[in-house]
Structure formats: structure tokens, C-alpha cells
């Protein structure tokens, strides 16, 4: 992925966090973490950001359950999830492909998805690989469902799906994704070909705007500084060693 694509993704995700109070980011998620830090820079300290497994950046002192307890208390407004597979109903599969338990290919497991997807108001699905292998018609295993019947307690759920090609917004009422924007250089036909599920789209969808000069300065400045601390290899690879002037 090019540094400019990385910056675009950081910028577009940061836009989804504007105005929120608190964002948590899972382990090994440099782009979502960078987006959260960028949103915080733009918001003058809001949202507050907790990055898991980040040593000095952690503000949890009650053990591994604290993230989930906080989410249950309503203290986390946004979180990020990925998926081995994501389908058109926003069901996500983090377990593997093929039958369960003896999968064709086994992945790590569901982590906290089966809980956080229900209780965090704004869950952003993030998966750079955008192919018919990752975006499927129906997931092989539902680690966490995209929607729930009305009697199920569910203050949270999917908000958007950000990939290397485009941004989808999730329409909870219809239970379907709608294409929100195409990243520069990608076409609607290409996205249809590489997406295993059907989705709604305008005939001529907007293009994801490139980050402004101001945003680029923030990414290269304070955001890169935080990234260097928590994800040094990622920062070196995609953001170089520039410093903001």
C-alpha cells in the first residue's frame, strides 16, 4: 500500500470519529489507531483514545476485562473490527473458512467481536484486502452478526466498512451496505467485480476526498509521533522519517 493510500484511509476513518467522546482501538491496528489520534488532534483532545497493548498509551488498570466492562458501561463510542470474511449483512467471521470446527483454514478466533459488535454504538469494519475472498455473500461462520431482531439488546453495531478500494456505509434498517465513496483510481465496476455481496450504490458514486494539506501536516506530525512509539515498524514503512516543520 502506498503512503498516500495509508493517509487517505487514516483521514476517512478519522472523519467517522468526529464529535465522539471516546474511541478504543484493538491491538495491532496501526491505521485505526492513527485515525483515532488524528480525530483527537482535530477535535482538540476529543475523542479520548485508548489503544490496547500500547504500553504507555494504555489507561486500563483493571486487567483484560476492563475494555469489555467499559464498553458495557457505555463508555466507548467507537471500535474497529475486521474479518476473515465479511458479508453483505455485515456479519463477520474471524474464525476461519469452511466447516466448523475442522476448518479448511483456521484463523485465530473471534476475540471480543461477539460482544463488542453489540454494545459499541459505532463499530467500523476495516479490511484493506477487498476481494471476493474477503467480502463474501454469506460468511462461513458468524463470529458476530451484523443485525439483530428487535427483542435483542443491541445499542451498538456496524457503522461503515472501509476497504482498500472504497467506503461502504451500513444501512441498519435495510440490513445492507451502500457504497459511500470510491477511493481515487477505483471504479464502481471494479468494486462490483471484487465484492462477493450485492450492495446499494448511486450510478456515479463520489470519490473519497484526498487528505487536506492541514490533515497531512497532522498525520506527519503528532500522529506519526504516536505511531512511532506504538507501531515503530509501520511508521517507518509508511510515514518515513519526516518530521512536521
Amino acid at each position: 500500500m502506498s503512503p498516500s493510500k495509508v493517509a487517505l484511509l487514516i483521514d476517512v476513518i478519522a472523519g467517522m470519529l468526529e464529535g465522539l467522546g471516546r474511541v478504543a482501538v484493538g491491538a495491532s491496528s496501526p491505521i485505526p489507531a492513527a485515525a483515532a489520534w488524528l480525530a483527537r488532534e482535530r477535535g482538540g483532545g476529543r475523542p479520548e483514545v485508548s489503544v490496547l497493548g500500547s504500553g504507555a498509551h494504555s489507561d486500563m488498570t483493571d486487567g483484560g476485562r476492563e475494555l469489555f466492562d467499559r464498553a458495557g458501561q457505555g463508555r466507548i463510542d467507537a471500535f474497529f473490527l475486521g474479518g476473515v470474511q465479511i458479508d453483505g449483512s455485515a456479519n463477520i467471521n474471524l474464525i476461519g473458512t469452511g466447516p466448523h470446527p475442522a476448518a479448511d483454514k483456521r484463523f485465530p478466533g473471534s476475540y471480543g467481536s461477539a460482544y463488542l459488535y453489540f454494545v459499541v454504538p459505532r463499530v467500523i469494519l476495516f479490511r484493506v484486502e477487498h476481494t471476493t475472498r474477503t467480502l463474501v455473500e454469506k460468511v462461513d461462520f458468524i463470529s458476530a452478526p451484523g443485525t439483530s431482531p428487535p427483542e435483542v439488546y443491541r445499542p451498538g453495531g456496524p457503522h461503515a466498512l472501509v476497504t482498500g478500494r472504497c467506503v461502504f456505509r451500513f444501512d441498519a434498517a435495510r440490513g445492507r451496505f451502500r457504497l459511500a465513496s470510491l477511493h481515487p483510481g477505483h471504479s464502481l465496476d471494479e468494486v462490483r467485480d471484487t465484492t462477493g455481496f450485492t450492495f446499494d450504490a448511486a450510478d456515479d458514486p463520489p470519490v473519497t476526498p484526498a487528505p487536506s494539506a492541514e490533515t497531512m501536516a497532522l498525520i506527519r506530525g503528532p500522529v506519526a509521533a504516536s505511531l512511532r512509539e506504538v507501531y515503530p515498524r509501520f511508521a517507518a514503512r509508511f510515514l518515513g522519517n519526516h518530521r512536521a516543520v
Binding site: 491491538a27 497493548g53 474464525i95 476461519g96 483456521r106 485465530p108 473471534s110 476475540y111 453489540f118 463470529s143
Partner: protein, 282 residues
């Protein structure tokens, strides 16, 4: 009363078939004890990861020590999927009880509190419920008129909780800092075994500041000194992970033959390292 043991005697206290709880990769993983368990050839473990795990679980599974793994995830983190775990699940060589992080935390809290179950939101509509017949959906008894389904999870009471900590005092009190998932593990388990970098004189409970991060000896059945006992993982505040070794593990463990090679090279070497550290400390 806490018993002080050698590393191998400590590993010997984990019986074949035991439910063994291990911490996540970011939290005080007892790697020296895990190598010792592989050396002694423990069998048929019900391995519970709290709530996920990495190389420790992959090693035990690859070495054939595990009958059942109950986990929210097993992964080598930045180094990718856990190869022996994945191969064993794909091949049906271990039984897998898929879970989710807060379910493992809550089920341990149930055991900690001596209650038979704990409720948890979420989960309804996940296939996890389908593959976990021990999880049940009940009607929330607090909802007026009912109609509010909620999952209840049975308590998880490990036979043994095992972890590595920076130090203990001479009474068997163990300093864990803010790693409170280990406190819950120890409360929930029948027996807790701990390796430490060192045993220090004095008493942790008498110091207000240190007491806040201390697991009382009451819960600690066995304690062994194991310098560098988290290696090749790191120990926050003490040493960094040996990233080169971990990458080598990931490379070798990708195949069964490579895994055998890794074990051949490291199981004995690790024991020797711990012994060297102990002698140096004397």
C-alpha cells in the same frame, strides 16, 4: 501455604488432563514453565487461554500436550496465525471450544464469586452460541413482562492457573502490578502455580503501594524461581521480547518438521538458561 519448588517440580504439579489457564501474550506468560511442561510430556490438557494466547498455546498444542483448547483466539500477533494451533484444529487433532474474550473473563469471575453462572450481553445470533451448547439463553428475570433474551455462561474453574511474575516476597505473595486478569485467574482456579524472576526478602503486603499490585500468598500453591522465565516473550518493566527468536519460531513452526527442529534445539537449552540464571543469582 505456598510451597517453593524447582521449575521442573512446579511443572510436575500440572496433572495430565488438568484444565490449565494461561495468560494472554501481553501479560506475564510463564514460558519457562511451558517449556518444562513440554519436556515432561504433559498430556490431555484442557487449555484455557485468558482470553487469548500466542506461542505458549501453540507450543503446547504442537507438542501434543493438549486435548481441548478453549479460547477467544490463538495467534502470534504481528507474526501471523499460530501455525500449530491452526494445523491441529484443521486436522481435528484438538477439540476446539471457541469463545469470546468477555465470556472467558465473565466465566472466571463466576468461579471467583462462587456462583454457577454469569450473564453476558451480546452473543445472540453468533454461531458461537451454536457451537457452545454449554451456553444458554434465558429470559432476563429483571425485564418487566419478559421478552429480553440474555446469554448465561457456566462458571469456569481451572484446575491450575499458571503465570510468570517479576517477583514474589519470601511469604509467597506475588507482585503482578496492574495485570489483574491474573488475579481473577488465581481466584477462580483451584490451584495457582507461579514462576518469578526472583524472590525478594521482606513482605509485599506491609507496603501500601506494593500491596495494590500483589496477589496474596493464600492463592499461590507453588512458586519457582525462573530468571528470564518469560523468554522469548518480554516481561514489562524487565526485558523486551526476543523478536528474532519469535520470528524463528514462526518460521520453523509453519511445518511439523520445523516444529520438531525448534523443540529439539530449545527445550533443553531453555532449561540450561534458567539454571544458569539461578546459579548467577546465588
Amino acid at each position: 501455604m505456598t510451597e517453593t519448588l524447582s521449575l521442573d517440580r512446579l511443572a510436575g504439579r500440572v496433572a495430565d488432563g488438568a484444565m490449565l489457564a494461561l495468560p494472554p501474550d501481553y501479560s506475564y506468560v510463564p514460558m519457562a514453565a511451558v517449556y518444562a511442561l513440554v519436556r515432561r510430556g504433559v498430556r490431555d490438557l484442557h487449555l484455557l487461554t485468558v482470553p487469548q494466547a500466542g506461542i505458549a498455546a501453540d507450543l503446547l498444542i504442537g507438542a501434543g500436550c493438549v486435548a481441548t483448547v478453549e479460547t477467544a483466539a490463538v495467534s502470534l500477533g504481528e507474526l501471523g496465525n499460530a501455525p500449530r494451533f491452526a494445523a491441529a484444529v484443521e486436522g481435528g487433532d484438538v477439540a476446539i471450544r471457541d469463545s469470546t474474550c468477555p465470556a472467558i473473563h465473565a466465566a472466571l469471575q463466576a468461579a471467583e464469586k462462587g456462583v454457577p453462572f454469569m450473564p453476558l450481553r451480546g452473543l445472540i445470533g453468533s454461531d458461537l452460541l451454536r457451537v457452545r451448547p454449554d451456553w444458554q439463553v434465558i429470559d432476563n428475570p429483571m425485564a418487566d413482562g419478559g421478552g429480553d433474551p440474555i446469554v448465561v455462561l457456566p462458571a469456569l474453574r481451572p484446575d491450575v492457573a499458571l503465570f510468570h511474575a517479576p517477583y514474589a516476597d519470601e511469604h509467597g505473595n506475588v507482585w503482578l502490578g496492574a495485570r489483574r486478569e491474573l488475579v481473577t485467574m488465581a481466584h477462580a482456579a483451584r490451584e495457582t502455580l507461579v514462576t518469578v524472576e526472583e524472590v525478594r526478602p521482606g513482605g509485599l503486603l506491609a507496603d501500601e503501594t506494593l500491596a495494590a499490585g500483589t496477589l496474596p500468598a493464600l492463592y499461590v500453591a507453588g512458586l519457582a524461581e525462573a530468571p528470564q522465565g518469560a523468554w522469548p516473550l518480554g516481561l514489562t518493566g524487565c526485558y523486551e521480547p526476543d523478536r528474532e527468536h519469535l520470528a524463528e519460531y514462526a518460521r520453523l513452526a509453519a511445518s511439523e518438521e520445523g516444529f520438531e527442529e525448534y523443540c529439539g534445539e530449545n527445550l533443553i537449552a531453555n532449561e540450561a538458561n534458567v539454571m544458569k540464571g539461578l546459579r548467577a543469582a546465588e
